[in-house]
């Protein structure tokens, strides 16, 4: 103290100042309590409750708004037509059916973070590495999980029999065009865990997508679509995978012995926790015919605190989470 006369009182900061000055010790102090409570008031394996609205965008074939906590994501699916005659290098006939979507690039997801959703992602710059990585992860997850039946995306035409065809054969079916789905994901508000939110938004937007009935018009040599909503068909999804992200907070450092370090697994981290934790685990789970979730993707990045046991617990929690999501996704 400057005057030196007053007895220095213990330097105590308020909660906000403590969190701002030294985020890691702040989080550690909270987690070391006998009954750990995270700064946002949740317990360790508490996820935020999601809410979903579908069909709020009028110019999309399918759309959804997903929000949990302070994270909100809007996703719009728009279908356009790719003519088979325009494909530069058409795939061979014997291509494995599930590869068609990937080979032709019929799904085009893009995640936009620079909508002013957080001060770290301001517009005016090209998409950040995070936005690019998330877009790519969504794309590869859509491909590997084989959610969409390529048959739903094909527009067939029964060509009239020509003279050299055998008379007893039926009309030959040719694929004249494909539906291409542009999946545009806009992050409106970001408070951690963009991947789970974006993936859930993609899922429920795809689930609400209706494709118009389309046919090849030989006279005008183009694809025409029926404007009647009654004739449109719903896009079928084979499954509804659910992504769950966990952040791992660890007191370990390269200078310390491994066993001295303590670590905590935090489900569904928010912005503050993401800033402090270096290690994350993302598990994507889908149903395996029945109700038990099967792992589609498991991703762990950074740090070395998570072992086999903790990983198993993460997967179990995401399976639990999968059950919760099914109700929300199917209800909404």
């Amino acid at each position: 103290m400057a005057n030196g006369t007053a007895k220095p009182t213990g330097l105590a900061f308020s909660r906000e100042t403590f969190a701002k000055l030294t985020p890691a010790p702040f989080l550690q102090a909270l987690l070391q309590q006998p009954d750990p409570i995270r700064p946002n008031g949740r317990s360790l394996d508490d996820f935020r409750t999601p809410t979903i609205n579908t069909g709020s965008l009028s110019h999309s074939n399918g759309s959804a708004v997903v929000r949990f906590g302070d994270t909100a994501v809007v996703c719009g699916v728009r279908a356009e037509i790719l003519l088979a005659s325009n494909i530069p290098h058409p795939p061979s006939e014997d291509i494995y059916d599930n590869d068609v979507v990937e080979r032709l690039g019929l799904l085009v997801p893009n995640l936009e973070l620079s909508t002013g959703c957080s001060p770290d992602h301001l517009p005016g710059n090209p998409p950040s590495t995070l936005a690019q990585a998330l877009s790519y992860r969504i794309l590869s997850l859509l491909h590997t999980s084989n959610l969409i039946d390529p048959e739903d995306l094909r527009i067939h035409h029964g060509a009239p029999p020509t003279e050299d065809d055998l008379p007893d054969e039926g009309p030959k079916i040719v694929t004249k065009a494909y539906w291409t789905l542009y999946i545009d994901i806009l992050c409106i508000a970001l408070d951690g865990n963009p991947f789970d939110a974006a993936w859930a938004a993609v899922m429920s937007a795809l689930q609400s997508t209706h494709l118009p009935k389309a046919w090849w018009d030989p006279d005008r040599e183009m694809i025409l679509c029926s404007p009647l909503a009654a004739e449109a068909s719903k896009l079928r999804l084979r499954d509804l995978p659910v992504a769950s992200t966990f952040a791992v907070f660890s007191t370990g450092s390269p200078l310390k012995q491994r066993r001295e370090a303590e670590s905590w697994v935090l489900a569904d981290p928010d912005e503050f926790e993401e800033g402090v934790c270096t290690e994350t685990v993302t598990a994507v789970v889908m149903s395996d015919g029945g109700d038990v979730g099967r792992i589609v993707r498991l991703e762990k990045s950074g740090g070395g605190a998570i072992g086999k046991a903790a990983m198993r617990r993460c997967v179990q929690m995401s399976q639990q989470r999968w059950r919760e999501w099914q109700g929300v996704l199917n209800g909404g």
Partner: protein, 324 residues
């Protein structure tokens, strides 16, 4: 067009939006304006929707009459705009000294905002809207109070107003009349977000739009009617001129004016009507701001009560205090 290497692109063959066949047995009814010329559509405004930003607001004009036709093509579209404000915050170290607040605005349509899909890169018309918005806001913000600081205003249009009736002839579709309504919305929503961010302003700026519309079809001698808040799809004879203003009601000042088209003798009346529209919007704006402030006050009082209960020793163990 060169492919954007930082995004996932369309398949190399290129895609086209679907072409719809004409529906059998359905007569499309052009939407008509049922409200009076001096009546504004209902609008919805709310602040504080993005907690991670310093200030934010959401603006919506819901669709008017929803015609049930069983068609897949949307009959009408609504206007949905979100705005976030980041700042005031220090300028980067390498920036030159500025005695005032540096305001930067950014307007972007979402890819699914309009009937034709839009790209991710800001185009010229969006930049133009941004420039208009900036002039409208510059006049209200008291920049001298925030030297060496910057402030970003980011507007995302989730759904934009259309330029004309979608099923009408191609002639009626152009003109960019929808942009005028979008700009008026942008001004109002940005103003609400600025207030939410706690940036000092001299007044609330609100946007208003009015247009000279022809009453009927093909009446050359017709002088037209001045209507506020035109929805381009509702005006059969077409819009001849439109005007957007950013208006400060309590100071009776106009910070931004944009007039388009040939208003002829009606120019002054058009501006007056636009100002009237802005005053109507302001009532909603003031109400939304007031509501937000009341909610904030309640929260502060609630916190004070909670803090008092902690002192009494109720939920003490939940809190940690840094000592040293």
């Amino acid at each position: 067009m060169q492919a954007d290497r930082r995004r996932l692109n369309a398949p190399p063959g290129g895609t086209a939006p679907p072409v719809f066949a004409t529906a059998p047995k359905t007569k499309l009814q052009r939407p008509t304006r049922t409200r009076e010329p001096d009546q504004h559509r209902k609008l919805f405004l709310r602040t504080g929707i993005v907690p991670s930003a310093s200030g934010s607001a959401y603006y919506e004009i819901p669709p008017q009459q929803q015609q049930q036709t069983g068609l897949l093509v949307p009959q009408s579209s609504s206007l949905k705009i979100t705005c976030t404000v980041h700042g005031p915050r220090p300028l980067p170290r390498n920036a030159a000294f500025s005695p005032n607040l540096l305001l930067s605005t950014h307007v972007k349509f979402a890819p699914f905002a309009t009937r034709n899909r839009r790209g991710y890169v800001q185009n010229a018309s969006e930049r133009d809207l941004g420039a208009h918005l900036e002039t409208a806001l510059r006049g209200v913000v008291i920049g001298e109070r925030f030297p060496k600081s910057g402030c970003e205003v980011v507007v995302t249009v989730l759904e934009g107003e259309e330029d004309g009736w979608w099923a009408g002839n191609a002639e009626g579709r152009g003109g960019g009349w929808g942009m005028m309504g979008v700009l008026a919305g942008c001004i109002t929503v940005a103003s609400a977000a600025l207030v939410d961010a706690g940036i000092d302003c001299v007044d609330l700026v609100s946007g208003g739009v009015a247009a000279v519309v022809q009453a009927g079809t093909d009446q050359r001698g017709d002088d037209g009617v001045v209507a506020i808040d035109p929805a381009p799809s509702e005006h059969d004879g077409g819009i001849r001129a439109a005007c957007v203003v950013g208006y400060l009601q309590s100071r009776d000042e106009v910070t931004e004016m944009w007039m388009k088209g040939d208003a002829g003798m009606r120019a002054e009346q058009l501006i007056d009507e636009a100002v009237k529209a802005a005053s109507l919007t302001r009532a909603v704006l003031a109400e939304a701001v007031k509501e937000a402030v009341e909610m904030k006050l309640e929260k502060v009082e609630g916190n004070a009560v909670a803090a008092a209960s902690v002192k009494e020793g109720k939920g003490k163990s939940k809190d940690v205090v840094m000592t040293g």
